[in-house]
Amino acid sequence: MTATGLSPSENRDLRRVAGLMVPASTEYKVPGADDPKIVADIERSIGRDMGEIHNALAALAGIADLDDAAAMAKAEAFRSAGGPAVAAFERCVLQCYYRDDRVVISLGLEARPPFPKGHVLEQGDWSLLDPVRKRAKMWRDA
């Protein structure tokens, strides 16, 4: 068992499936979810989902040793079965993948938390309210 709570074989299977879920892309200049830094983040962040992740990896056991076609078929069978283990697995991968600096920057966003800088929100077109202001009272008095 690793310090994060997964066995070495679970770690290998997780990494393989994460890469099938979100592969690297040269077109978008992003790593896959099997990138070592992202996988380490996933393992560290499982937290409350550890039980379901164990369930998911039990269903996916041995996928790291399969060829690509067999691995994809096994992953697809896992995903199409649905259920809480699938939901937890997808969430655990995506919540770490989409906070990786390289991924965030590729989306045209800043790699930072919202606070303290915040964001700028334009006022928008307030003249759009003019026809609404002219409407009669809509609420019922009682």
Partner: protein
């Protein structure tokens, strides 16, 4: 001994504590949770979205902090959302701030369903206004969809997304208006103005969003009210005269204490309050305290809340602003041409964060695994528009809170069990709203439209389980919150509601609480008569 003991420091408990402070009575509030530290709120870290599924999950069962108590909602069509800590649910809400309409208090008279409230909108009006000043509301006067009100701050900007919605609603000829919100658009009473952190619901690190830990409580404490945290109340104790004599609670170390009081005020929300009363059994009250009507825990209303979302070609505000920006009252009032009575508020959301978009889209098959993942993700992220349908919820006795036979919290106190089904009138209303929301999204040019009929773990509105009324056989408390059975026991939270309205309840919960506190102050000499 204290004069007034308040259980719960959330929306209602804080407002009542502040209001009663001027009496100079000795007031103590017991809160099972902690004070919150805004510097640790999710938006301060890179894991801000992930924490919505962890220590800031809206479900107490998943969040599972030491300060939470479990709720069995396995038999409920909607899952329970709450927050336990100083400020209660106001720490953990979207800050959307509609008021109940005058018609919401007269549903039997106007629409022939449920019951009228024993109070009306106009009795509450000055308390709505007072509460808007205390919480700090931004908004815009002149809305033909709601009664006049006077928000002390200008509204949140429309932004790109609000402008798109406004243009679309004008095209359809339907009402829309910038929402009232308890997000400060100017520096206000010690609160810094909003800087668009975007993730308002799980606590505002900027302090722009009003929660009672930063609005009512500082003033109440300065006025002499005592607030004791990590104090979890097990039961209310009564004496031989049939009056409440105090409460038994556990401190952070699990030590049991008895706190005597002249008056007990319960403000634990529509689930916590009936749970406490049902746990307060004795030989004098074998079915739970204040329960001679048998209605404690019954008539639970949770506000079914379909969401319809779609994706427009242009990039919009996404999660770079407060989530909610506009409302529509086009379908709020009863229309005899529809196949349901009552109605709903439409809420217009700006979008979601990147992680939330990816997770929610993958969960419904809209975001694939594999090589196409990145292309589709870029069509979804910050392209979402979403309309929520806040449906009126009518009371049904079969929708109820009871005590779980086995499940207990960390102090061994029996947990609440929730049984809730969506009524037929509400189902018709939901479908009507979903169809209208779909029309809006299509008119806005959205594709990939997806409907979620009930939100998982949301919206966290818990109402009706200790309803108010003039008839002790048909209600738990009277029109000003006093128990019919126990003359020094008051309930001031959303559990006193007779009907649910089709909107977020916090503004009205607090207005009712301030009204009840005012009634108590006016009746001090004869309070127990």
């Amino acid at each position: 001994m204290v004069d007034v003991l308040i259980v719960g420091s959330g929306a209602a408990g804080a407002a009542v504590a502040w209001s009663l402070a001027e009496t100079k009575m000795r007031i103590l509030c017991l809160e099972q949770g902690d004070w919150q530290n805004s510097s640790t709120y999710p938006s301060t870290g890179r894991d801000w979205e992930a924490r919505r599924w962890a220590d800031f999950d809206i479900s107490p069962n998943r969040r599972a902090r030491e300060t939470d108590y479990p709720i069995d909602d396995s038999q409920s069509a909607m899952k329970i959302a709450n927050f336990n800590g100083v400020g209660g649910g106001t720490v953990f809400y979207t800050a959307h701030w509609p008021r109940m309409h005058p018609s919401d208090f007269r549903v039997k008279t106007l629409d022939g369903v449920a019951d009228d409230w024993p109070i009306d909108y106009w009795a509450l009006e000055k308390f709505f206004e007072e509460n808007d000043r205390m919480m700090g509301v931004s908004g815009l006067e002149g809305d033909p969809g709601v009664p006049p009100r006077h928000p002390p701050m200008p509204p949140l900007p429309l932004g790109k997304t609000g402008t798109l919605y406004g243009r679309t609603m004008n095209q359809l000829g339907w009402h829309w208006w910038p929402s009232d919100s308890t997000i400060a658009t100017q520096d206000y009473e010690g609160r810094a103005k909003c800087i668009n952190l975007g993730h308002c619901t799980p606590g505002c690190a900027q302090g722009a969003k009003a929660s009672t830990d930063i609005t009512y409580w500082p003033l109440a404490l300065r006025a002499g009210v005592e607030l004791r945290t990590r104090a979890r109340v097990r039961e209310i104790v009564t004496n031989e005269q049939g009056m409440a004599s105090g409460v038994v609670y556990y401190d952070a170390q699990g030590e049991e204490h008895f706190q005597p009081a002249e008056v007990v005020i319960v403000a634990c929300n529509g689930i916590g309050t009936p749970r406490l009363l049902l746990n307060s059994i004795s030989s004098r009250h074998p079915n739970g305290l204040a329960n001679s009507s048998g209605l404690v825990g019954k008539n639970l209303m949770l506000h079914p809340w379909p969401q319809v979302r779609g994706y427009v070609p242009e990039r919009n505000d996404g999660d770079h602003a407060p989530m909610l920006s506009l409302w529509s009252k086009q379908f709020y009032e009863t229309d005899p041409n529809r196949d349901f009575v009552r109605g709903y508020t439409m809420q217009f959301a700006r979008g979601t964060g990147v992680v939330t978009e990816a997770v929610t889209s993958m969960s419904v098959g809209a975001l694939p695994w594999g090589t196409d993942h990145h292309r589709i993700a870029r069509e979804l992220i910050h392209h979402r528009i979403q309309v929520g349908i806040a449906c009126d919820d009518l009371p049904e006795e079969t929708n109820r809170v009871t005590l779980h036979p086995d499940l207990k919290d960390s102090n061994g106190i029996p947990a609440a069990k929730v049984d809730y089904k969506i009524g037929e009138n509400t189902r018709r209303m939901m479908e009507h709203g979903i169809a209208r929301a779909t029309e809006i999204l299509e008119a806005a040019g959205a594709k990939g439209i997806y409907t979620s009929r009930t939100l998982l773990n949301s919206p966290g509105h818990m109402l009706g389980t200790c309803r108010m009324g003039n008839d002790p056989a048909r209600s738990v408390v009277n029109a000003w919150g006093r128990s019919h059975d126990v003359k020094n026991l008051f309930i001031v939270d959303g559990s006193t509601w007779v009907t649910g309205g089709g909107l977020n309840p916090t503004s009205t919960i607090q207005a009712v609480a301030l009204y009840m506190a005012d009634q108590i102050k006016q009746r001090l000499a004869t309070l127990f008569d």
